[in-house]
């Protein structure tokens, strides 16, 4: 089985314990969460969660379906195939002396990152981008001495017009519904 990184995005009700329910499911089904990011959405009372997990397709699909059973999860989709735009924000505190400061600033500029705080012996750098970009900046700055790092983990949106998590207010799912991903996945007719 090939394991790859999957990006799952979920729309969840803003209720106490939701994060706990989801995290506990990952643990129970033996999955490591690589990153998880939660924030508000355009709809009040709903949050959006982006979870990155590693696993083979069948296992990730099984976890997705289990997560979908959590009552507060309104919708959850695996958007990996959609090649979404994925971003992460990182804050890095780098050691800086009079002699290294300008070199650091140059590197930061190349990455279109920002210096957001300056002190006598350090700089704080803010960078956004995909994980590789954050990783490479980190690599380059490591030589100067990294004091502290804070990364948000991935957030992602599919490209183009599709909005897989869009739920229209007051609209009931028609019966019979469209095939679930698990149904759509199965082989074609005999």
């Amino acid at each position: 089985m090939v394991t790859t990184k999957h990006t799952l995005v979920a729309l969840v009700e803003d209720k106490p314990g939701v994060l706990n329910r989801m995290a506990s499911l990952f643990r129970r089904r033996n999955f490591n969460i690589e990153s998880i990011a939660v924030g508000h959405t355009e709809q009040p009372s709903l949050s959006r969660m982006t979870v990155v997990v590693e696993g083979d397709n069948a296992k990730v699909e099984q976890v997705r379906k289990q997560l979908d059973k959590v009552i507060e999860v309104v919708k959850i989709v695996d958007i990996t195939e959609d090649e979404p735009v994925a971003r992460e924000l990182a804050l890095l505190k780098v050691k800086a002396t009079a002699s290294t400061r300008s070199e650091i600033i140059q590197i930061v500029d190349i990455f279109r990152a920002n210096i957001v705080d300056v002190s006598a012996d350090s700089l704080m750098v803010e960078v956004t981008g995909d994980e590789e970009k954050v990783d490479s900046l980190l690599e380059l700055l490591r030589g100067f001495g990294i004091r502290e790092i804070a990364r948000t983990g991935r957030i992602a949106l599919p490209r183009g017009g599709i909005a897989p998590l869009l739920v229209e207010e007051g609209k009931k799912p028609k019966q019979p519904p469209k095939p679930l991903p698990s149904e759509a996945e199965s082989p074609p007719n005999w």
């Binding site: 499911l25 309104v74 698990s182």
Partner: protein
């Protein structure tokens, strides 16, 4: 009008049609107990251990199809429910568990009798909820019942702090629920159903495997129509027993570890399997990689997460069984499978599974068979876990839905007695026989007091083999006959029963079995029979762990296979 949280809860339960609560009081639920006398229509049955309350609610739910309710106080009361909740969860039984919690200002302070029961039960409930305001209570109760009994049923726990019971709030019971994240798929996808029909119509060696989903969905007529129209043998899971009459010519018994050899053989040779309302549990499939090697599988289940979880599926259909089968049956072309049945009958002759061997002593299988004969099959059988459970499944014949109540997924010893209480309370006009192991019976034996106090007329048959029989059997077959800590010196169950105020008898001789069972049946009220059976009788067939379904052992052999882990 304003009411207290306790009153709101009681009135909400009444609105949900609750008739009986299995419970046990304590500090955190005292305000609720204090309100009970205002609601005489809510019958409260005082159990002797909260595990009993949860199993009784579960047994009630399985026997009636309604949602069972259990109640416990905070802390130890709540944790005592845990086994029963997990049991209900694995067997998809609709149960609403209500727990008291410490008053809201104390939550999180490790207060007296505080446990995080919503945290503890998170992985073993379908949903749970800590109510922090009496205003929420009616809605939460409404949602709890809705979630517990719709879709794939399961337990829902409501945790209510003591001060919320006392808090006053306006009471209006909501007419409907709105849960944007919970909308079970009830109707199968038409094109998948069409593909399933095509596959079934074209099958030469089809088999139906029917599970508890058929019972939950009440799809008995539809299942029967499918089987008869397409002439397909029906095999059931343990929990599916009763969803298809075992007297029917198309019935091929139970599959799995202790299933009929011919049922397992049929599956092994099937070219198309219609798996209906079952979840391919490892006790049913044997080694899963070798399960039904030649078959294409149609899997119909209301829970999308079950599809593709354990076995590869060719046609997945998510929906309520009854709805799906209604549509599917229209597309089934009547036909027969004469050759296939010829073959099946031959296997049936070669592997007679239901056999009671010649024996001077009292055989457990004979006890079960006599209960069948005396009741003429018209009874609800509630089993323990272990050998007694498998014999009850094999040697009683079930023609009615919900006539076998057994702990399948969790395999909980001690389920039998409290679950039988629940079944009898839910179906007072039915004969309820509790088939208990001498080991499991001692795990919830205290519920004899509940039976006596409420005069619950369950009939109890202890299959007393002096062993944790099923474990002993494994030690015999797979661990070189080393019986390590499986021999039991039980108490005198007749004296115990009498001490609790129950009528009881002991039977050692097979010639006394029938009369004893008849006596128990004639007796008004509860009755216990302690059947002292052959101690080392084994359950056959048995598919050894790690083996495939067709590698079942059918006859006792002296030395068998390698030790297992």
């Amino acid at each position: 009008m304003k009411k207290t949280g306790a009153q709101i809860l009681c009135e909400s339960l009444i609105k949900e049609g609750v008739e009986v609560i299995f419970g046990f009081p304590g500090g955190a639920v005292l305000p609720l107990y204090d309100a009970f006398p205002q609601y005489p229509q809510l019958r409260h049955i005082l159990v002797r251990h909260e595990q009993g309350a949860a199993h009784a609610a579960d047994g009630y739910a399985r026997a009636t199809g309604k949602t069972g309710v259990c109640l416990a106080t905070s802390g130890p009361g709540a944790t005592n429910l845990v086994t029963g909740i997990a049991n209900a969860c694995l067997d998809s039984s609709p149960v609403v568990a209500i727990t008291g919690q410490v008053a809201t200002p104390f939550i999180g302070k490790d207060a007296f009798q505080e446990v995080d029961i919503t945290g503890i039960t998170l992985p073993i409930t379908k949903h749970n909820h800590l109510v922090l305001d009496a205003k929420e209570l009616a809605r939460v109760v409404k949602e709890a019942f809705y979630i517990a009994q719709t879709g794939r049923p399961g337990p829902v726990l409501i945790d209510i702090p003591r001060d919320v019971f006392q808090q006053e709030a306006e009471f209006t019971y909501p007419g409907k629920v709105s849960l944007s994240g919970y909308k079970p798929t009830l109707f199968g996808h038409p094109s998948q159903i069409k593909r399933a029909a095509g596959m079934i119509n074209g099958a030469e060696h089809p088999v139906i495997i029917a599970g508890r989903g058929v019972i939950i969905s009440k799809a008995f007529a539809e299942l029967r129509e499918l089987a008869e129209k397409a002439q397909i043998p029906v095999v059931t899971t343990l929990l599916g027993i009763g969803c298809f009459p075992e007297a029917h010519v198309l019935s091929f018994g139970m599959l799995g570890m202790h299933g009929m050899a011919y049922a397992n053989k049929a599956i092994d040779n099937a070219d198309v399997i219609a798996a209906i309302g079952m979840r391919f549990d490892d006790r049913a499939t044997g080694v899963v990689s070798a399960f039904a090697p030649q078959a294409r599988i149609v899997h119909i289940d209301i829970d999308p997460a079950e599809i593709g979880k354990n076995v590869r599926v060719d046609v997945p259909i998510v929906g309520d069984i009854k709805n799906v089968l209604e549509v599917l049956n229209e597309q089934i072309i009547p036909r027969d499978h004469i050759e296939w049945f010829h073959q099946l009958d031959q296997w049936r002759r070669e592997h007679p599974a239901i056999e009671i061997r010649e024996c001077e002593g009292l055989l457990p299988q004979y006890v079960i068979r006599q209960i069948y004969e005396v009741t003429q099959g018209d009874a609800i059988i509630v089993t323990g876990v272990g050998q007694n459970q498998m014999w009850a499944a094999q040697f009683f014949f079930y023609d009615k839905p919900n006539s076998l109540i057994s702990s399948g997924g969790l395999g909980t010893m001690g389920f039998e007695l409290p679950a039988a209480i629940g079944a009898k309370v839910g179906c007072p006009d039915e004969t309820v026989w509790c088939i208990a192991g001498d080991g499991g019976f001692q795990m919830t034996i205290q519920e004899l007091a509940t039976i006596a106090q409420e005069n619950i007329a369950v009939k109890i048959a202890i299959i007393n083999n002096g062993y944790l029989g099923m474990v002993r059997q494994w030690q015999e077959l797979f661990y070189g006959r080393r019986y390590v800590h499986t021999q039991l010196s039980g108490p005198d169950f007749v004296k115990i029963a009498e001490a609790y105020g129950l009528a009881a008898l002991r039977v050692r001789d097979k010639r006394e079995v029938t009369a004893a069972i008849e006596k128990a049946m004639e007796h008004q009220g509860p009755f216990l029979i302690d059947f002292i059976v052959e101690p080392e009788e084994n359950v056959f067939p048995i598919v050894p762990p790690g083996a495939t379904l067709v590698e079942a052992l059918e006859l006792p052999r002296p030395e068998i296979v390698t030790p297992l882990t």
